[in-house]
């Protein structure tokens, strides 16, 4: 066997294990070390590139930590007001039905201020993809309580822990939209381990492909971390995510295309 001695012999196309997506821009992402956003951005860019959709995609970025998403992926973008991304995406998709249209939203954006827009666009079955990053906290504004903050979890606006009696329980938007006839595919994933990243990329690709079928809204929640907001190291935050977030937000499909629609209670 020939011994590998130099770098030139290693850097060959056949040895290439990973390559940066060509549609990720040169801008350096502004995220904190260990944040799940950059991983989610990367797999999203890879899928858009691999599916050949760069020239046919319009993304809608939110208000929140990922507000500058439009700086990182080389596609056409619209920046929506806080919570309004699904309404903006509705306007885009209705007028350009042949384009691939998606929103990328955090938990404050999607599950608090944008609750109505989220539920109604899913209820109308808009042919859009909604990517929902749930890290249980408002990251950009400095770690305030989110609608998805866990019971007892501390934040800058729940400094003694979330008291469910006065602050309500965490809102499981993904479970809610799964009950709506307008959604076609609803799933909850995470990006905190390499295995989960691969799994998420796989299901996200499916959700992207489903849009061509015009069968309704695809909704992908990614349970993520916020090392800065949670005041943890990246490694601690991933461990905490596994131990606390995932029991409350279990991973897996909530609604798949082959499933029969969820039974609705009959109106009296």
């Amino acid at each position: 066997m020939k011994e590998i001695t130099g770098i030139k012999e290693i850097v060959k196309p056949e040895n290439l294990a990973y390559k940066k997506s060509t549609i990720l821009t040169k801008d350096i992402m502004h995220y904190c070390p260990g944040c799940g956003h950059s991983t989610a951005h990367r797999i999203l860019a890879e899928i858009i590139e691999e599916e050949g959709l760069q020239h046919d995609t319009i993304g809608v970025s939110p208000v929140g930590c990922s507000v500058f998403l439009y700086n990182y992926i080389d596609i056409d973008w619209q920046e929506a007001a806080h919570g309004r991304a699904p309404a903006v995406a509705t306007g885009i998709k209705r007028l350009l039905p042949d384009k691939f249209v998606f929103t990328y939203q955090g938990d404050g954006d999607l599950a608090a201020i944008g609750t109505a827009e989220t539920i109604h666009s899913c209820n109308r079955g808009e042919n859009i993809l909604i990517i929902f990053i749930n890290n249980g906290i408002y990251g950009m504004t400095g770690g305030q309580m989110a609608p998805t903050t866990l019971p007892g979890m501390k934040s800058s606006t729940s400094p003694y822990g979330r008291d469910v009696h006065t602050m309500g329980n965490p809102l499981k938007m993904t479970d809610i939209v799964a009950t709506l006839p307008g959604t076609y595919y609803v799933t909850r994933q995470s990006v905190h381990t390499p295995a989960n990243v691969r799994k998420t990329k796989k299901v996200l690709r499916k959700a992207v492909q489903y849009q061509k079928l015009n069968k309704g809204t695809c909704f992908v929640e990614i349970v993520s971390n916020c090392p800065s907001g949670w005041k943890m190291t990246p490694v601690q935050s991933n461990k905490w995510l596994e131990e606390h977030m995932l029991p409350y937000y279990p991973l897996g499909d909530l609604k798949t295309p082959d499933e029969k629609p969820v039974q609705q209670s009959k109106s009296e």
Binding site: Q54, H55, D56, T57, I58, V60, V67, Y70, D74, I75, D76, W77, Q78, E79, A80, A81, R84, A87, V88, A89, T90, G91, I92, R94, L95, L96, K99, A116, E117, H120
Partner: protein, 349 residues
């Protein structure tokens, strides 16, 4: 045809690409007419009832960002809800049409006609330094005509345009001439998000800027645009102004009342004229200033507590006295009331 219906039919005929609305009195006929006409079958125009005024204006944002001719309509409380979206649209420099069929306020107010949203329409409405182009129809014919004009101005300046109507003109029925059906535009705007081809950089529709220096440069660019609009787009109508000694200023429904008041006054030998602003932004300030050199006083007649009168005062700039007469809460002044008020001002009683 009703004023509201004229707006709807004119939108179809102007080749509009999309309408996003939410029901509210006294303008629901716009959405109802469009739903019944079902223009998607004929022209491909999308008509959608949103879950709220907020969603509707954000659908407009999305469609306008794609370079499409899109619009929404509402009445006062609903227009307040739309202000967030309107300021984002102004900040992202998107063209669109917003129709406000004004009713009495504040709050839930009444469902009768009013002109109490003047400040909101003309001075900005939402947060930040911006202006809408504001058109004020005073007949059903103008309701129809201003739809096409609004879209033309919106795309010319990449700026949201508002038709500021009221419940009287929205509900009143008049004969109206409608233009022929225009085809929907196939033009792909170079700034719009249509899916980035290899030949251009990515387009980003946004109003966000973290660097205050760059934001100020953008604000200056907007001011330059508004000045260009002030220079080129002022529209007004003069009625018996040539020999007038006293000048009424009124728009929309109030202008119709004042036209009658001018006729009544002249029968009594009082030389009165009427200046009717058609654009409320840009405001016909130069013309009012010119008239201020010829007349003894101005009387602004509005269905409000006195909003437009401030712009008359600014234009007159102290040359002669400026007064206000108004009714509120959905009440419409009568021509006799206007004449009586004017006479009192003339005689000083």
């Amino acid at each position: 045809m009703k004023g509201n219906e004229a707006i709807a039919e004119a939108a179809i005929r102007a080749g509009a690409d999309g309408y996003f609305g939410y029901p509210i009195t006294p303008q629901s006929e716009i959405l109802e007419y469009l739903m019944e006409a079902n223009p998607y079958e004929k022209t491909g125009m999308v008509v959608l009832q949103a879950e709220s005024e907020i969603a509707a204006i954000n659908m407009v944002y999305g469609g306008a960002g794609c370079g499409k001719k899109v619009m929404t309509s509402s009445s006062s409380p609903g227009i307040s809800l739309k202000q967030e979206g309107i300021t984002y649209i102004a900040g992202a420099e998107l063209p669109c049409l917003i129709v406000n069929v004004v009713r009495g306020g504040p709050g839930l107010g009444t469902i009768q006609p009013a002109q109490s949203d003047y400040f909101q329409a003309v001075k900005g409405g939402g947060h930040g330094d911006y202006h809408l182009i504001v058109l004020a129809p005073s007949s059903v014919q103008e309701m129809a005509d201003f739809v096409g004009l609004a879209f033309d101005l919106a795309f010319k300046y990449r700026n949201p345009v508002m038709i500021l109507s009221d419940g009287a003109i929205g509900q009143m029925m008049e004969k109206v001439w409608l233009g022929p059906q225009q085809e929907r535009s196939k033009t792909v705007r170079e700034w719009a998000t249509t899916g980035k081809p290899e030949t251009r950089k990515r387009n980003i529709i946004t109003s966000l800027e973290l660097d205050p220096n760059r934001q100020e440069i953008f604000n200056l660019k907007l001011i330059a645009k508004y000045n260009e609009i002030r220079e080129n787009e002022v529209r007004f109508e003069e009625f018996q102004c040539e020999d007038a000694e006293y000048m009424l200023v009124a728009y929309g429904t109030s202008a119709r009342v004042c036209q009658k008041a001018v006729e009544l006054s002249r029968k009594q030998g009082i030389k009165v004229g009427l200046l009717r602003p058609i654009t409320l932004f840009p405001y016909p300030s130069k013309q009012i200033n010119k008239l201020a050199g010829k007349v003894k006083l101005f009387l602004a007649v509005e269905m409000s507590a006195g909003q437009m009168v401030e712009d008359v005062r600014l234009a007159v700039n102290g040359k002669v006295p400026v007064y206000h007469y108004g009714r509120m809460g959905g009440m419409i002044p009568t021509p006799d009331e206007v004449v009586d008020n004017l006479k009192k001002l003339i005689t000083g009683n």
